[in-house]
Symmetry: C2
Subunit: 351 residues, 2 copies
């Protein structure tokens, strides 16, 4: 299908899909048992198999009033990692692409950075040299491009970028590179009375910009890595919040349960991830009693997306690593591993 | 009315009132214009006057689809301070009473603190000496009683206390000392499609324990002062979150807009407060365009509750100070000052 892109860079199909999600949101949040008992028409991009069945069984177990593990609607909390779970994270995290793309604008405002590393290397356009930059340099780029402006300025800059930037492999906006089966899982859970959260190692302010449009998830349901802000005043006296280079919450690995406690204040009963960054989130989700759904997406589909592990003999990856140890733990604890290749009949909305 | 208290220390009237709030929650979130056009039956404990009218006008201006300041439901965010705005804060914040009451249990576990200040003074029961403790000592008591345990242990301890403790003046649970007109305002806004948040200088984990029952506000809609937690494991391997004496968010004064950005990610359009701790929250709420509701409760009713300012010639107060400068700013900026004495026909649900 050819991409029909509006002037704002938003694909119509995404808009239509989002409209459907929003319609679902505005309806009654408590489904009838008739709705929950039937799985006809739900999860159409999931092949019959243990992964699809795990979702159906979990929803029935927690929403059927006659189930011993029935949950009242207010306790139905589902958490989704973003990078590699809801959208493509290879060859590099989208937010890092944003930060690299913002470097010229930052240097234009602060010309003294032009010949200073790591900015000099980024400006050179030498991708291999950029890829070799040490973490410490990457952090300087993140701080320079994600902080120092008001929250409104950041919102406008990042929104503008996300509407225009395209992934090099598909030549489509990053917001189209979302996994259709996961959109269906989000929607099915929401239709079943679940409150759906994104719980991401990515920047909270960044993901909040498009999460409503892309996933139907409002800003207050995005838990992410967050820096502090400082309240102050513009020259005309208008109150402003300025983004500071001070880390409040590193929402990755053990930071995910910590972040969920801070932002949600209760334990999710369903959690979806894809890497070692999600291990503690799934573990914490399983810590309570009752029915639990814990799923990990394995990227084993080089043809339709990417193949990386190193679990299951797949190539190793610095980004979104799914280790053999994580795979073993999943099997041992009853976490469901989703095979992109075998469990999904369709990967993207545009497929 | 005599207090009918169950074994859990919860007054039936509060339960009934909460059930009504929850019923409102589960209904459709988008009201018909017929609902918003009529104010019959809403805000019954508010006397006719500018305060009640400000709420009615604001709701009409933001929910009537023909209004130029109409807001779609997802942008309807209302923020309520808690201490002194939703419930009684005198003679001392409820959470501080909790911390003082917990000192014997802390000392029982750590006997070496028995003869160490400030614990020694608290254990002495000398109220005047306790009242004279410097801030630094109070902070040590807060750290010793609010941190060091798992989030579940804290929840159980504080829930047990809040169900049993009583305010010395009314001899009733603190959770009954909520302002009936504010419960009605919360409910009216929620019935009008607003998402209602508590934005408190009090501890987020503390307020979350009873906010659902008392105000119909779920844990994820409580923004408060928050410390960090650390993810780890109990001896049996169960994952735990331990409350740490590390301040993440001081959700008071300028910290309120910062906290709302962190936790909600959008600017509220309505804000209710009562003291200098709420000034920046109201200012930030007013920073956007469109219709805005900003209200400050003035405690000018010594007969039914308390009288303190020092605004309007009322006695000065260390707790919940409403200064003449804040009063002047309110008048200048069109913030509505609610007179407890004149604007409320009823103060408490049990009146």
């Amino acid at each position: 299908m050819h991409s029909v892109t509006s002037s704002a860079g938003i694909n119509r199909r995404v808009l239509i899909s989002t409209a459907a999600l929003l319609t679902a949101l505005s309806g009654a949040s408590i489904p009838s048992s008739a709705q929950t008992a039937s799985s006809d028409g739900v999860l159409p991009s999931w092949n019959e198999g243990p992964a699809r069945q795990a979702i159906l069984d979990f929803v029935r177990a927690t929403t059927d009033p006659s189930s011993p593990t029935y949950l009242p609607p207010e306790e139905r909390i589902a958490a989704f990692d973003q990078d590699g779970t809801l959208w493509v994270e290879h060859p590099i995290y989208t937010q890092v692409v944003y930060c690299l793309d913002r470097v010229p604008a930052v240097v234009a405002k602060k010309p003294e950075l032009r010949n200073v590393e790591p900015f000099k290397t980024v400006l050179s356009g030498n991708r291999e040299a950029v890829a070799r930059l040490p973490i410490r340099d990457l952090e300087r780029i993140l701080a320079a491009t994600l902080t120092g402006m008001t929250v409104e300025e950041f919102h406008a800059e990042a929104k503008n970028w996300i509407g225009a930037a395209k992934h090099p492999r598909w030549d489509r906006p990053y917001t189209e590179l979302v996994y259709q089966p996961m959109l269906e899982a989000i929607r099915y859970l929401r239709d079943s009375g679940y409150k759906t959260y994104i719980v991401t190692g990515g920047g909270q302010d960044f993901v909040r910009i498009y999460a409503g449009q892309v996933y139907g998830i409002p800003p207050e349901q995005v838990v992410g890595t967050a820096g502090g802000t400082t309240y102050g005043y513009a020259k005309d006296g208008t109150p402003i919040l300025t983004k500071e280079p001070k880390l409040l919450l590193n929402n990755d690995k053990a930071g995910k349960p910590e972040g969920m406690h801070l932002m949600i204040g209760r334990r999710p009963v369903a959690a979806f991830g894809n890497s070692i960054g999600d291990r503690q989130m799934l573990e914490w989700t399983g810590g309570g009693g009752g029915a639990r759904l814990r799923m990990l997406l394995l990227h084993d589909d080089a043809a339709r997306e990417y193949a990386y592990g190193p679990a299951s003999g797949l190539p190793d990856s610095k980004i979104g690593s799914f280790t053999p140890a994580l795979y073993d733990e999943a099997k041992k604890k009853g976490w469901t591993v989703i095979s992109m290749k075998n469990d999904w009949s369709r990967v993207f909305p545009f497929d």
